[in-house]
């Protein structure tokens, strides 16, 4: 009887704190996007969906966000693998093992603020270049924030996410017998580079794939960094949604909900994909 009560409580907690907010939030967004609820609702309409895709703003925003996430993730994963393999033991004990955690103490807004002070044309990097004689004035330094290539955003996201992947790969190397597998491959005649590209890296990528997908999902929804360091067009999905919802133009609000629904669907699909891939990885 007591066990059943605790099960009911757990079920209730999940429903109250996870399922209900999800259904309410997504339900509201869906209904608003179809004109069924909202300030200017006139009943069911596809107008808002048509308007959202009338120009390419929404499409570009999604492509931009996905592209940005992929670049940021690729840099974190590749650098993380390199650092874990190259430094490995130095980051597991001593001062290195504490230092690597430091970026995890930064909220996105602080990271964005720092990188603005670091990469803008009046920032620290520009001043260093001036002192080294590489530039002659502040305008000679290319602004690396709010720029065309989103360097500021990538740098800030890289700073925040790298430690997570370094620690992840250190842990995988320790727990998955990567060293033993490498030795085995060597004994079968593989050269160092072959061991690296045919054994070590594929094994690490396979094991970390569900985490990579999960962080891809997180990066899709990132808000503070693109808000501060991004350019005005295209915007990332979250910035676009918030802008549309908070504008005085009420016609933009339903479009904001359209984008929110598409984003939520994308997250569901990716989550299911991540779960399926973690099942495959676990079975391997």
């Amino acid at each position: 009887m007591k066990i059943k009560t605790s099960n009911s409580i757990s079920f209730l907690l999940l429903v109250v704190f996870a399922i209900i907010p999800l259904l309410l939030g997504l339900g509201y967004a869906l209904l608003y996007s179809f004109g069924i609820v909202g300030v200017l609702n006139h009943g069911f309409t596809l107008q808002n969906w048509e308007a959202a895709f009338a120009n390419n703003e929404v499409l570009y925003s999604f492509f931009y966000t996905v592209g940005l996430s992929l670049v940021s993730l690729f840099s974190c994963v590749s650098t993380g693998i390199f650092l874990a393999l190259y430094f490995g033991k130095k980051l597991q004990k001593g001062i290195g093992s504490y230092i690597i955690y430091l970026p995890m103490a930064f909220p996105s807004v602080v990271a964005a603020f720092f990188f603005f002070q670091f990469l803008s044309n009046a920032g620290l990097l520009s001043r260093l270049c001036y002192k080294l004689g590489l530039i002659k004035s502040v305008t000679d330094f290319t602004n690396l924030v709010n720029d065309q290539y989103s360097i500021g955003i990538i740098a800030a996201q890289f700073f925040l996410t790298l430690p997570i992947f370094v620690l992840l790969y250190i842990s995988i190397i320790a727990n998955e017998n990567i060293e033993r597998l490498s030795l085995l491959a060597t004994s079968l005649g593989a050269r160092k580079s072959q061991v690296l590209w045919r054994i070590t890296i594929p094994a690490l990528l396979k094991k970390s794939f569900p985490t990579i997908v999960l962080y891809f999902i997180f990066k899709l929804g990132t808000y503070e960094i693109p808000l501060l360091l991004g350019r005005s067009s295209p915007e990332t999905v979250s910035v676009l949604i918030v802008r549309k919802m908070q504008r005085f133009n009420l016609m933009d609000i339903p479009q904001g909900y359209v984008v929110a629904v598409i984003y939520a669907l994308l997250v569901i699909v990716l989550l299911i994909f991540s779960f399926k891939s973690s099942h495959t990885v676990a079975d391997a």
Binding site: A18, K90, I241
Partner: protein, 256 residues
């Protein structure tokens, strides 16, 4: 090779430590004119104002602290309870997937979709509303985190204790909680950090009325007041640095 590795490690240390040094330096500065690398004038003024609440930052700090402690405590407790049920459930994977979803969604987008309900319930623009909104993202995280604690070994320990005559309450007190101590602490720290770092959701649900530290940072950035922004940033970083150090030094060792 050894030299290359040492230089690379040195660069890595710079990469990790430089942002903190820059932010602290700016928080003690009055001006930072181009092209000087270091600020011209150093001052304790900003920190003194914080300590004597001259700029309302102290209130923001305590707002953030109150919210984060409450959210961390509640989500840890509720997440620990709920995670056991999920971990041993037949449909564990499906339940985990459902639990992941609110956590995976961007908090600011989630907040925008829920704003209507918070308004209707009178929870917009106040502390309770923000706490509830943050629980909606912290609780799923805590549940997911603690699910990995409830493995076969824990179940076997509970069963052994039971066959030795221990009541469920005794088993929790003498077996489960001692074994879960480090997990609970780490989970608490992580939920604290999730809440402490939160900006977008807090801004949407709080309507800017509840001034947390993250909101103040944004305000100072908007006002181009980089020195106060740096000060607020330092205040934001300090607790997580301490928590991460405590977690690394004491909690991780316990699990070994």
């Amino acid at each position: 090779m050894h030299k290359k590795r040492t230089i690379s490690l040195f660069l890595l240390v710079i990469y990790c430590v430089l942002p903190i040094l820059v932010l602290f330096a700016l928080s003690f500065s009055l001006n930072w004119v181009y092209p000087n690398i270091l600020p011209q004038t150093f001052t304790l003024r900003h920190w003194k104002e914080f300590l004597f609440d001259g700029n309302g930052l102290q209130q923001s700090f305590f707002n953030s602290l109150t919210i984060s402690l409450f959210v961390a405590f509640t989500s840890t407790l509720l997440g620990f309870i709920c995670s056991k049920w999920i971990a041993y459930h037949k449909r564990r994977r499906l339940l985990l997937l459902v639990t992941y979803f609110p956590f995976a969604l961007s908090p600011v987008i989630f907040a925008i979709c829920l704003k209507f309900y918070f308004l209707k319930a009178g929870l917009a623009g106040n502390l309770p509303g923000i706490i509830i909104a943050q629980l909606i993202i912290a609780f799923p995280y805590a549940t997911i985190f603690f699910t990995s604690f409830w493995n076969k070994s824990i179940k076997d320990y509970s069963n052994i204790a039971s066959t030795l005559g221990s009541s469920p309450f005794n088993s929790y007190l003498k077996i489960i909680f001692p074994l879960a101590k480090s997990f609970l602490l780490t989970g608490f720290f992580q939920c604290f950090i999730i809440s402490w770092f939160e900006y977008g959701l807090t801004n949407i649900i709080g309507y800017g009325k509840v001034q947390t530290l993250t909101i103040r940072v944004f305000q100072f950035i908007g006002e181009a007041n980089i020195f106060y922004a740096a000060l607020s940033s330092c205040l934001l970083i300090l607790p997580p640095v301490i928590l991460l150090w405590v977690n690394k030094k004491f909690v991780v060792h316990q699990t070994r």
